[in-house]
Amino acid sequence: MRLASEVNNTENKPPRRVIPLSVEREPSLSAAEHSAVVEVCGRLAGLDGALLPILHGVQRALGYVPAAAVPVLARQLNLSVAEVHGVVSFYHYFRTTRGGRHVVHLCRAEACQALGGRQLEAHAKRVLGIEFHGTTADGAIRLEPVYCLGNCALGPALLLDEQLQGRVTAARFDALMQGCRSAAEPEAS
């Protein structure tokens, strides 16, 4: 984009510092990502209140909801970019960054706290070397907080991808992570 300052510079005046109004452009979607987003919209846009099902569909297809998908979704659904961004950012489940072949949702709620959930949380962060929302350096595991998995009598609990785990001790956590990192998919226990 040509800025007004560049036009002015042609007249031998000292350059003025101009802060452009346009925000940073998001890296655009790859062709495959773009077509996945359009496909999900095409399939679900007819639903009443379609945005949440569509965002779930995008996250399922791409592993996250890229910021660059927001204007595409807005155009497809005839919503403003702000409306779509507002929904994506409101819900904890929608991730806007890529990363993590496996996702660990670790419960932080009271019933798990009563059984050492806080200590498990500290252990998880230490052995993975990441904070919540982070992904391990090898890209294998992403750690996310969650508030209750409905396994409150068998805590501490976590959800490894879609598999609920209960009575998770530090040793069991390490074994589960080991399973994620071995070449094979983690086996359901």
Partner: protein, 522 residues
């Protein structure tokens, strides 16, 4: 049963059972049976709710179902050797399931079939009394259905305990081209899992209850708003809805009655606030889950602005038995203005955690010790949080409170969704109070100022109080802030966060004055 008929063996597919190895147990049983050439029929039931015994394996014998648990995969061969297929003794055997102390005196009305039937089998549901409520409802005028629900005394089981019949009547009397039935399955309270267990263990009863609500209110479309954290429940509901539709219990012209009801599951995306009914409706409409001002009531202007019945899973699931057995039958259970039964959930540091459905009136102490068997750690129980993250922390002196909406209100607590979270004496109540404020800050929808800003300021004030920075002044400030949250918040999230905070402060003041404290309790 002839000798050649395959023995029926039950291994739960409930998510909690799977979380401690039920899938591996089921596979081991199948493989072992094949290896030995023994014919057996493996049924994946819901959980009986004795979660400390999961994976709980049951075998159908001529004398009834016999329970073994917890059965790890490596114990399976030993069970075969001991003759468990004939219900023979074994160190893991508990005798007849129905006679187990935990289950024997429960009053299972809503959970009557959970753990007993195959949740994927409509035929099994019907064989165990399913769809009798709907058949009864199809014979009645809509007003008579509403009257039965009102007379039963059923109150909303999600937490607010509003009389269901009154809500239904408001919707039934409203006129609109399209009305909706919405099920709140966004069970986000810590310590609660009854909705999950019911949807996984007996999804048809929820579908039946919602269909009856549709008939009563003239609503032809329904949504189940399910939290994403329950993928197992999603699968169970999807299968049940497909089966019900195929058998004309859903869709157009239900059972030849000329009435129709369509049902769809929608999945949430991790927002506690979407358990609040108006935030849930916003979310269903594809928006941010922000709380709406009331009025208008959702009963008059709910989903997409249309009259909407919105109730919790357990509320809808309690309706079929009311229609089947009559309002009087249901009303007969309970105490005071709390009628019927409540599925309670024993959670946290408890020896025998699980689901206990009892008539209102059972005391907290009976639940904790008679059913729960005390703490899992074996240490004394110091505090119990009833009603989720917005419920009060109760000290030992209040354990004799009966499970009753009004009795809990009288001690500055609430029953909420019936979750009971147990803490032993290693708990640091000041950090629990801080967590309650922090949770409110994380989950606030941001619409009203007391909740959005007050929760963050609340965390800061508690931190200063614990650091001993002019503690009396900080305590005054905290109490003042809690008053603002209580009376100034738009919904229960901000309005009830003071419950856990102030109950911790009032009942366990000693935890707030220690000069030195570790950040996490040992």
């Amino acid at each position: 049963m002839s000798a050649a008929a395959p023995v029926k063996v039950y291994v739960p597919r409930d998510a909690a059972a799977l979380s401690v190895g039920a899938e591996a147990t089921a596979q081991a049983i199948g493989a072992e049976a094949q290896r030995r050439g023994v014919p057996l029929e493996l049924i994946r039931n819901g959980s009986r709710g004795l979660l400390s015994f999961e994976p709980l394996v049951e075998v159908a014998t001529p004398a009834g179902r016999v329970a073994y648990g917890p059965v790890a995969a490596h114990a399976v061969a030993d069970l075969f050797d001991a003759g468990f297929l004939h219900g023979r003794p074994h160190p893991l055997a508990h005798g007849r399931t129905e006679e187990m102390a935990y289950l024997k005196d429960q009053e299972r009305l809503t959970f009557a079939r959970v753990g007993i039937t195959d949740p994927r089998s409509l035929a099994d549901y019907v064989a165990h009394g399913g769809y009798r409520g709907l058949r009864a409802a199809l014979e009645l005028q809509p007003a008579a259905i509403v009257a039965a629900v009102t007379a039963s005394g059923l109150r909303g089981r999600g937490g607010a305990a509003f009389p269901a019949g009154i809500k239904w009547q408001t919707v039934a009397r409203a006129s609109a081209v399209q009305k909706y039935v919405v099920c709140n399955a966004d069970e986000g309270d810590s310590g609660t899992f009854s909705d999950r267990m019911l949807m996984e263990g007996d999804p048809f009863v929820l579908i039946e209850g919602m269909s009856i609500a549709g008939l009563a209110c003239g609503a032809t479309r329904g949504y189940i708003y399910l939290r994403w954290e329950y993928p197992q429940a999603h699968a169970a509901l999807a299968a049940a809805i497909a089966a019900a539709r195929a058998a004309h219990y859903l869709g157009e012209d239900i059972q030849g009655s000329g009435k129709s009801f369509e049902l769809e599951v929608r999945v949430g995306a991790g927002a506690y606030i979407c358990g609040e009914e108006t935030a849930l409706l916003e979310s269903l409409e594809g928006k941010r889950g922000q709380v709406r001002f009331k009025p208008p009531l959702p009963a008059l202007a709910g989903l997409f602005g249309q009259p909407t019945v919105i109730n919790n899973v357990i509320t809808f699931a309690s309706v079929p038995i009311i229609l089947e057995q009559g309002a009087e039958f249901y009303q007969h259970f309970g105490m005071g203005r709390s009628r019927g039964t409540l599925p309670l959930q024993l959670a946290g540091n408890i020896k025998r955690g699980g689901l206990v459905e009892k008539a209102f009136g059972v005391t907290l102490r009976e639940l904790l010790y008679d059913y729960g068997g005390g703490s899992l750690s074996g240490r004394p129980i110091r505090a119990v949080q009833v009603g989720g993250p917005l419920g009060a922390y109760l000290p030992e002196s209040q354990f004799d409170t009966p499970i009753d909406y009004e009795a809990f209100a009288a001690i500055g607590g609430m029953l909420g969704h019936g979750g009971v979270v147990v803490f032993d004496d290693s708990v640091d109540m000041a950090s629990q109070a801080r967590y309650a404020m922090q949770f409110c800050a994380i989950e606030s929808c941001g619409k009203c100022t007391p909740c959005r800003i007050g929760s963050t300021r609340g965390v800061e004030v508690i931190e200063r109080l614990l650091a001993g920075e002019d503690a009396p002044r900080q305590e005054t400030l905290l109490r003042d802030l809690c008053e603002t949250l209580t009376y100034g918040s738009l919904c229960a999230l901000g309005g009830l966060t003071p419950y856990p905070v102030l109950s911790a402060l009032n009942h366990f003041p000693e935890d707030f004055v220690k000069p030195e404290r570790s950040s996490a309790s040992a």
